[in-house]
């Protein structure tokens, strides 16, 4: 299974090696579509999983103050570990496949979502909480109806950051053959340094990240109409 050769050995420039080539895109349309779809779906899966884990953790940090520092510190340490090293830890145990990538991506997204959700929750004004308590909200009622909605801008920021960095990070999955659009870059590096393949993969990847960022930002505006009204008045 030696699918990883050295790109340095393939350093032979063909006569024309343009950065952009319709011919390349037409020839490889199927592959490009498959990789883009994989990239998109895996990103969504990773961010969704990260949210499911991180938002409850952030609430826990918010409720139980002493837990905040260790949880943030641990996710900070995990965030410092290089992605390739993390995949290296996981690969021998989880195997070579999409699960390895997914676990890695979730771990990196965690810190961003936890930090920003916590910041959002901590910014809920004390008098708002007082008012909610006075209206008879319990702990969970207040969380669901008052605190989480008011923390939405923070949560959305966390999800945006996590999504954009997940899209970028997923390319490192080439190490286990699951890099999504990174596979285009990989194949470009390993077939006579084909510039068109590398540029196509790069541009689609950046475009996907920015597009998802804009979509989530718009969604955030939709679900927090009060934030806009306040800014307008």
């Amino acid at each position: 299974m030696s699918f990883l050769g050295s790109p340095a050995l393939a350093f032979q420039q063909s006569a024309s090696n343009p950065w952009f080539s319709w011919h390349y895109i037409q020839q490889n349309a199927d592959q490009i579509l498959t990789d883009t779809r994989f990239h998109f779906i895996t990103t969504i899966e990773a961010v969704a999983l990260a949210m499911v884990v991180a938002i409850p953790l952030a609430v826990l940090c918010y409720w139980v103050r002493p837990l905040g520092a260790p949880i943030l510190a641990l996710s900070g340490v995990l965030y410092t570990i290089p992605s390739l090293a993390l995949f290296a830890f996981l690969a021998p145990f989880v195997g070579i496949g999409v699960t390895t990538i997914l676990i890695g991506l979730v771990i990196y997204a965690l810190l961003l979502v936890i930090q920003n959700t916590l910041t959002g929750l901590q910014q809920v004004p004390e008098d708002v909480r007082d008012a909610a308590r006075g209206m008879g909200y319990g702990r969970f009622g207040m969380l669901w109806h008052v605190e989480l909605p008011l923390a939405l801008p923070g949560i959305i920021t966390g999800i945006r950051l996590a999504t954009v960095s997940t899209v970028a990070l997923l390319t490192v999955g080439v190490i286990v053959g699951q890099g999504g659009l990174g596979q285009l870059i990989f194949s470009g590096l390993h077939t006579n340094l084909n510039r068109a393949a590398i540029a196509t993969g790069t541009i689609l990847c950046v475009a996907l990240g920015l597009a998802l960022d804009v979509v989530i930002a718009l969604f955030g505006r939709l679900v927090t109409p009060w934030a806009r009204r306040r800014a307008a008045s």
Partner: protein, 250 residues
């Protein structure tokens, strides 16, 4: 290829065995060679990033403009995969071949934290301190060098620390493109089958992770000592808030 057989203990054992073989350290291309390349690439990239980001960030902070640009640049680079930029710069051939071609790409990813922290550090200087300096008759350059810069040291040092950790971590990816650095050990391990290379992969991962955490810890101490004493306690609380905006993906 599914999950490998052999179990957790086997791979840890293999990793220890691999790390215990002195030849794996001293061979040409062994751990010591890889570590040297890794540190040289990272150091050069950090120097370039500082040389670009510090003057720009400090100047923007001083004139109080360019905040939008700083944010846009941070967000923009976050969307660019490191692997992609490494590949583009390598194939464009503008930085030579081999490990050196990783330097410009790593430098670009080191810029945002340094830029953002230098800008924020200068901007955060208390307006009253500013007024006092002006009232004492200090010129713009004097205010910058004698008042703003010293007060911004905690931020600037924290930014350089973030950038350094990020660059050291990201330099691992150089192995995927042109080779060089500790990432080579992991990459070579993946080139074998998991049964054969699992131990080496794990060993490489450990080395890289330890290096990143070590750089983070050592620079944490450095940041503490370069921070003027009266600023030390306040700094800790403040850096947290700046960190959210500046730390980019690995």
């Amino acid at each position: 290829m599914g999950a490998p057989k052999g179990g957790v203990v086997t791979y840890f054992h293999q990793a220890i065995v691999w790390l215990n073989d002195p030849l794996n350290w001293t061979n040409p291309g062994g751990i010591l060679d890889a570590l040297r390349t890794h540190l040289i690439i990272s150091g050069l990239a950090l120097l370039i990033a500082c040389a670009i980001a510090l003057p720009v960030g400090v100047w923007f902070g001083h004139i109080g403009r360019g905040g939008g640009f700083v944010v846009a640049f941070s967000n923009g680079t976050r969307a660019i995969p490191t692997y992609a930029l490494l590949a583009v710069i390598y194939v464009a051939g503008i930085a030579g071949i081999g490990a050196a071609s990783a330097v410009p790409a790593l430098a670009i990813f080191g810029i945002p934290p340094i830029l953002a922290n230098a800008y924020t550090g200068i901007r955060e200087v208390d307006p009253e301190v500013h007024d006092a300096a002006r009232g004492m008759g200090m010129s713009g350059i004097q205010r910058l060098s004698q008042v703003e810069l010293p007060l911004a040291v905690p931020y600037i040092a924290a930014g350089i620390r973030t950038a350094a950790v990020q660059i050291v971590a990201t330099a691992t990816l150089a192995a995927l493109v042109a080779g060089g650095g500790l990432g080579d050990i992991i990459y070579a391990g993946f080139g074998l089958t998991i049964a054969q290379g699992g131990g080496q992969i794990l060993a490489g991962g450990l080395l890289v992770a330890i290096l990143a955490l070590l750089v983070n810890a050592v620079l944490g101490i450095v940041v503490h000592f370069v921070t003027p004493k009266p600023l030390r306690t306040r700094r800790r609380r403040r850096r947290r808030t700046a960190a959210v905006a500046t730390e980019a993906g690995v």
